[in-house]
């Protein structure tokens, strides 16, 4: 009899890695829509451009590594990385910036470490951090939020022209803006209250940022609901940001931003739901996730408040990526039948 002989189990849940990734892609849609709506076609163009680059590079490097190309491409992980990176970049970042970013993310941060599952650092954040350090001007040049269909907004083709070098962005003063975080950080001698009134992006543009954050939260809740990740990391991270910001804001509201600002202006929500939850680079046990998320939140707050960079999601995530294996060692769950959880390499309890 020619029957299949395999080991148990003989049934399998109908969810594959590709399904998980597709869910993540789906969950980025609201944010993509919001970004496009408020910041113009640039984000959409970037997302598509980055995805194309990612697929191309992934295919090339898988081939170079002599692995079945289609088999690995089908897990969608490259596209997810690319889209997250593209969403984090300024909407009108030049084409080569995206190219460098995707290259760093896919080739260096992911495949040079052994491919999906082996990379210790979140590829999108490695790329983002590298770009931020190497090209600080381009990386902080955000356009003023407008409404897509408003007058003055760049049309689709103009946007393509800007991104792919047809137009010099610096000539359009629309592109000399800053992010709210940036503006708040470099507000000169202004108190926060003055800054809120006087700086345009804070006074008028903040709504767009709130909307984008809300879109990320929506996507995140969708993923939570679909059990793509657990609540531990986002919640711990947001809590770890909120608590110190409440304390410091209450103590010195002139120098520190309010908690709501921390949570909604900038990459916090994206980081909480789409970056920090990247399972490959996060801590693995539920308890570990709490520590991991809290670490990220705290680091973001610290860097934002006292560091040189206006936003800090990338750095905070990368730093905690470093700590994840360590956290894992010390947060093993207590297994059934054991009185104590094991800790550390040797498993002392």
């Amino acid at each position: 009899m020619a029957l299949i002989r395999v080991t148990s189990p003989h049934v399998h849940k109908a969810n594959r890695t590709a399904d998980v990734m597709r869910l993540v892609l789906l969950a980025t849609l609201p944010a993509l829509l919001a970004m496009t709506f408020f910041f113009g076609w640039g984000t959409l163009i970037n997302v598509i451009w980055a995805s194309l680059l990612a697929v191309g590079m992934e295919a090339a490097i898988i081939r170079l590594r002599k692995r079945p190309v289609m088999f690995y491409l089908r897990d969608y992980s490259a596209v997810v990385t690319a889209i997250l990176l593209a969403l984090a970049l300024p909407p009108f970042a030049p084409w080569w910036l995206t190219l460098v970013g995707v290259f760093v993310a896919i080739v260096i941060a992911k495949h040079l470490y052994g491919g999906l599952g082996q990379n210790p650092f979140n590829p999108a954040m490695v790329a983002y951090a590298l770009l931020l350090v190497s090209f600080p001007v381009m990386m902080t040049r955000w356009n003023m939020p407008t409404v897509l269909l408003d007058n003055g907004a760049l049309g689709l083709f103009d946007s393509i022209a800007v991104i792919f070098g047809g137009l010099e962005p610096a000539q359009i003063d629309q592109f000399t803006g800053a992010t709210p975080l940036d503006a708040f950080k470099h507000r000169g001698g202004l108190t926060s209250e003055e800054a809120w009134r006087q700086i345009d992006v804070l006074a008028n543009g903040i709504g767009a940022w709130h909307a984008v954050s809300a879109a990320y939260v929506m996507g995140g809740i969708f993923l939570l609901n679909r059990k793509v990740f657990t609540w531990h990391i986002p919640l711990a991270m947001l809590a770890a940001m909120t608590v110190p910001s409440i304390l410091l804001f209450g103590f010195d509201p002139d120098s520190y931003a309010d908690p709501f600002f921390h949570l909604t202006a900038g990459g916090t929500m994206m980081g909480a739901f789409f970056i920090a939850t990247d399972p490959v680079t996060a801590a693995s046990s539920n308890k570990g996730k709490l520590f991991y998320g809290a670490g990220i939140g705290l680091l973001i707050f610290v860097i934002r408040s006292w560091g040189n960079y206006p936003d800090a999601v990338a750095f905070a995530v990368l730093l905690m990526n470093l700590a994840a294996p360590f956290i894992d060692l010390y947060t093993q769950p207590r297994s059934y039948g054991h009185t104590q959880a094991k800790r550390g390499l040797k498993g002392d309890s």
């Binding site: 009899m1 020619a2 029957l3 299949i4 002989r5 395999v6 080991t7 148990s8 189990p9 003989h10 049934v11 399998h12 849940k13 969810n15 594959r16 890695t17 399904d19 998980v20 088999f71 690995y72 897990d75 992980s77 491919g115 999906l116 599952g117 082996q118 059990k227 793509v228 990740f229 657990t230 399972p279 490959v280 996060a282 693995s284 046990s285 539920n286 894992d328 093993q332 769950p333 207590r334 297994s335 059934y336 039948g337 054991h338 009185t339 094991k342 390499l345 040797k346 498993g347």
Partner: protein
């Protein structure tokens, strides 16, 4: 209804249970033959009691339990035993196992059997024995001997009985149907268990997807005298895992590595409860069970009550298998079952389900992708392990880390594999890692054992070397002393060129001399003390002691002198090394010369010619010399043989002592003969020779005494040092055996846990090892009172020789028949009978040869395990034997002169000893 707790993780795979619950439990097919594996349970295999051709009745005991942890097997049909041998069985390993095959005569003739009228009148011991006699084993999964579980012993107090009715695996409905239809039997079975365990609380854990069974149970339990709770738990795989169910029902966790009884709980499956009831109430052994036949490839899936041993194909037929649609045949459930590709395999006591799945139903797994550390496995694991970490560790062969991450708590439930989006066969990785770790551990244990043995051997060798060295020193010392004594004695005889102490002193090793001097001094002091003591107390033997003191004083002086001389560079001139051998030779030479002188004198006297006076003088001189040499030798030798100074006596030394004794006896005989001749010749030397004989006799007696002392367990008790080394050796043996036994036991346990078919063999091995260990322990105990009996090898003789003989006999017979056949063919006679004979003989020969080969291979393996190269050993032994023969021949050839003969005799003795030693080592393995 009790409160339900929760366990971490779990999954909700599609139930697929409704397909097989449409029909009531049907009677199973009537098999043409049944195949009954002797091991359908955890533990030792049962021992077959039947032979081929024997007629057996239904329910007759055909294999008895092969140990405490074993289960009896009964005939499930009446008929004739057609085969007892290795056959394929349904096991995940796919290996063959010992089975008994019975051809069904369809008479359905039962052995007389009867239940217990009132089981409550029996105590739990007897009841356990009764149930044991009925071959009941756990029917839920692993098949643990039920009587063992029901008789947990005094160190466990059972307060809760958990009846596992969860049946959490998809597809399986055997327990469900059993409860629906025979709830009263379940409850009756529980009554028996309660009587035996006396729990204060009984909980039946059942998943909420079996409403009918729940109702039936509740009804049956109504008004029961026992405190029975039907606890409905949410449907979640693996709630039917023993540990998970216990957690669900009681909130208690069974400690890692422990059993439920450790926390006062015993868990039994509903099917087992029914089997217990049937055994107790009707005396029916466990010869049938309910099996779920399901899967999309069956047109008529349902549950059936099947005779154990019925081949799958009969069941599939009854369930109307759509042959062309069958893609996978799973034994057990879809989560933990295993696949088989042969439908002739038999149903066993633990087979609860057969899934005949179509391709669409259970498609082949997709190739595994990379782990994305999504953590879903971790969320699903009921043991709260970190499956993805374990997977990384297993993949990277970091087994230590895997172990630290509690790999061995994994119950291989498959929940993690089920949810893994990358479709990684996680459970397979864990099985692999577990197997590797077990292998590694076994190897470490082996290495440890080998190391221990090696160290013991090195220590022993070192002790031997030290001992030899000590003996050498004593000899040297004795020689010095002898010389000194002789010198004193012969001082008056100035005419005689006595061998001076200087010339004869074996002064080579100053250190040795120093030690010798020190030793002598110490002895002297001891004796002095004893003397004082004796004097004080007015004891007897003061005189002897005084004498001894004097002698020792002389000795000490001599030793000191020798040492001083040796220290003095002038005296330390290259002195000839004079050892025992040389002394012996010297004595022999002197004797020869004496004899020659005697002869010459006799000749001269006879012929009346020559200078008789001169010859006489020469003879006297020679006699003195001979005596001197002999005395030197004797003293030296007796110094060696003296048991009081022997620091430790090993078997080898014992042999040496014996040889000494023999040699001394031979010498006495020789001397006596010489004396006789001398007397007959009226030789003037006769007088002196007489004294010599007497001396020799005394020496022989001494040697005998030394030997007896060493060999006798009573006198040697006074010399605890003698057996210290042997004790150590025995201890090492015992330790080694203990380690072996525990190793084997551990291996056995693992095998049992794995349901390995090798377990049965291993069980026998363990028993054997245990027996050997007992022997070793006994030997050690016997030696514990400083018994100096020679090391008795506790290994029982394997009948290798007999086997070998048999093989050769067979071979000879076979050749004969072959020849006969040839001859018959040539002469044109009828050869058919002879040919048949030949075939039979060939078969027997082959069987014998195979057995012999196997034994021998086992031996070699055993020897290798003990660090001995059996082949090399054999060669060595053979060579030693050859050396003995050679030496014997040489000795036979040489009749004179005397000293050469003596040397040869010595060589022979040595060769014999060596051969003996090697043989004894060899015999340990044969």
């Amino acid at each position: 209804m009790g409160k339900v707790f929760a366990f971490h993780g779990g999954i909700h795979p599609p139930q697929n249970k409704q397909q097989s619950t449409g029909l009531a439990i049907q009677p199973g097919p009537v098999p043409k033959t049944v195949r009954l594996p002797v091991q359908q349970h955890i533990g030792a295999p049962a021992q077959p009691l039947v032979t081929v051709g024997q007629r057996v009745l239904k329910g007759q005991l055909i294999a008895e339990p092969g140990g405490r942890l074993s289960v009896a097997i009964h005939a499930s049909v009446s008929g004739t035993v057609t085969a007892v041998g290795m056959m394929q069985v349904a096991h995940s390993s796919g290996m063959d196992a010992l089975c008994i095959e019975i051809e069904n005569d369809r008479l359905d003739e039962w052995v007389p059997h009867a239940g217990l009228e009132d089981f409550r009148s029996l105590n739990s011991n007897d009841l356990a024995d009764f149930i044991r006699g009925k071959g009941v084993a756990g029917m839920g999964g692993a098949g643990f001997p039920t009587d063992v579980k029901l008789h947990v012993g005094d160190h466990h107090i059972i307060n809760t009985l958990v009846i596992n009715a969860a049946e959490c695996e998809p597809y399986i409905t055997a327990d469900d149907m059993l409860m629906r239809e025979r709830a009263d039997q379940v409850i009756a079975g529980i009554g028996v268990i309660c009587h035996m365990l006396k729990p204060s609380h009984v909980m039946i854990g059942i998943e909420d997807n079996k409403p009918q069974a729940i109702r039936a149970l509740q009804q049956a339990a109504l008004g029961n005298r026992h405190n029975i709770d039907v606890v409905v738990v949410p449907t979640k795989y693996p709630s039917g895992g023993e540990k998970q169910l216990i957690k669900l029902l009681t909130g208690v966790e069974v400690p890692s590595g422990g059993i439920p009884a450790d926390v006062g709980i015993v868990c039994q499956n509903v099917g087992t409860a029914v089997a217990i009831h049937r055994a107790v109430a009707h005396g029916e052994p466990l010869i049938s069970r309910v099996v779920t036949m399901t899967g999309d490839a069956l047109a008529r899936p349902h549950n059936m009550e099947v005779a154990i041993g019925t081949p799958f194909v009969d069941l599939l037929d009854q369930a109307n298998l759509k042959e062309n649609q069958l893609a996978r045949l799973v034994v057990g459930g879809p989560m933990m079952g295993f696949t088989v590709n042969d439908d002739e395999l038999p149903i066993t006591k633990t087979t609860n389900c057969l899934i005949a799945a179509t391709w669409e139903e259970m498609p082949e797994a997709n190739p595994a992708q990379s782990c994305i550390r999504c953590g879903q496995c971790e969320q699903a694991c009921p043991v709260e392990l970190l499956p993805q970490q374990l997977h990384w560790f297993a993949k990277g062969r970091e087994f230590d880390k895997a172990k630290n991450h509690n790999l061995f708590d994994c119950i291989e439930c498959g929940a993690c594999s089920y949810v893994c989006p990358s479709e990684i066969p996680l459970v397979q990785y864990y099985r692999f890692a577990k197997a590797e770790i077990r292998k590694e551990e076994a190897e470490t244990r082996k290495a440890d054992h080998a190391k221990k043995r090696f160290e013991a051997r090195v220590a022993r060798q070192e002790a031997e070397v030290a001992e030899k060295e000590a003996r050498r020193k004593q000899r040297a010392e004795a020689a010095v002393k002898a010389q000194a004594v002789k010198k004193d004695k012969l001082e008056a005889d100035a005419a005689k060129p006595a061998v001076t102490a200087d010339a004869a002193a074996p002064v080579t090793d100053i250190k040795a001399l120093k030690t010798a001097a020190a030793v002598t001094r110490t002895k002297l002091r001891q004796v002095e003390k004893a003397l004082k003591n004796a004097e004080n107390k007015g004891l007897e033997g003061v005189e002897t002691l005084t004498q001894t003191v004097a002698t020792l004083q002389t000795k000490a002086d001599a030793a000191q002198q020798a040492y001083d001389e040796a220290l003095n560079p002038a005296a330390a001139a290259p002195a000839p090394v004079l050892d025992l051998k040389q002394l012996k030779t010297n004595a022999a030479v002197a004797r020869t010369k004496l004899r020659q002188a005697e002869k010459a004198l006799a000749k001269a006297q006879d012929s009346g010619e020559g200078d008789i006076a001169a010859l006489q003088a020469r003879l006297t001189e020679q006699q003195a010399k001979t005596e001197l040499a002999q005395a030197a030798y004797d003293t030296a030798e007796s110094g060696e043989a003296a048991p009081a100074v022997a620091p430790a006596i090993s078997a080898e030394q014992l042999a040496e002592l014996k040889a000494d004794w023999d040699a001394a006896q031979a010498k006495v005989a020789k001397a006596q003969a010489a004396l006789d001749t001398a007397i007959a010749n009226e030789s003037p030397a006769a007088e002196k020779m007489k004294a010599g004989v007497a001396k020799l006799q005394a020496k022989a007696d001494e040697a005998k005494k030394a030997y007896d002392d060493a060999a006798s367990p009573v006198t040697a008790a006074a010399a605890p040092a003698i057996s210290a080394e042997q004790l150590a050796e025995l201890q090492a043996d015992v330790d080694g055996m203990t380690a072996k036994v525990s190793k084997a036991q551990a291996a056995l346990d693992t095998a049992i846990a794995n349901e390995s078919p090798a377990a049965e063999k291993m069980t026998a091995g363990v028993a054997k090892l245990q027996a050997r260990l007992d022997e070793a322990v006994q030997a050690l105990q016997a030696a514990g009172g400083a018994v100096a009996e020679p090391v008795v090898e506790p290994e029982p003789e394997l009948d290798l020789k007999a086997l070998k003989q048999q093989v050769s006999i067979m071979r000879t017979k076979l050749r004969k028949v072959e020849k006969a056949v040839e001859a018959a063919e040539e002469s044109g006679e009828d050869t058919s009978e002879l040919v048949a004979d030949q075939a039979q003989l060939q078969q027997r020969f082959e069987a014998a040869k195979a057995q012999f080969d196997a034994e021998e291979a086992a031996l070699v393996a055993r020897a290798a395990e003990e660090g001995v190269d059996l082949k090399q050993l054999k060669i060595d032994a053979a060579m030693a034997r050859a050396a003995v023969t050679k030496a014997e021949r040489a000795l036979a050839k040489v009749t004179e002169p005397d000293d050469q003969q003596e040397k040869l005799a010595q060589a022979l003795e040595a060769a014999k000893q060596k051969a003996e030693q090697l043989n004894s080592t060899l015999s340990r393995f044969e």
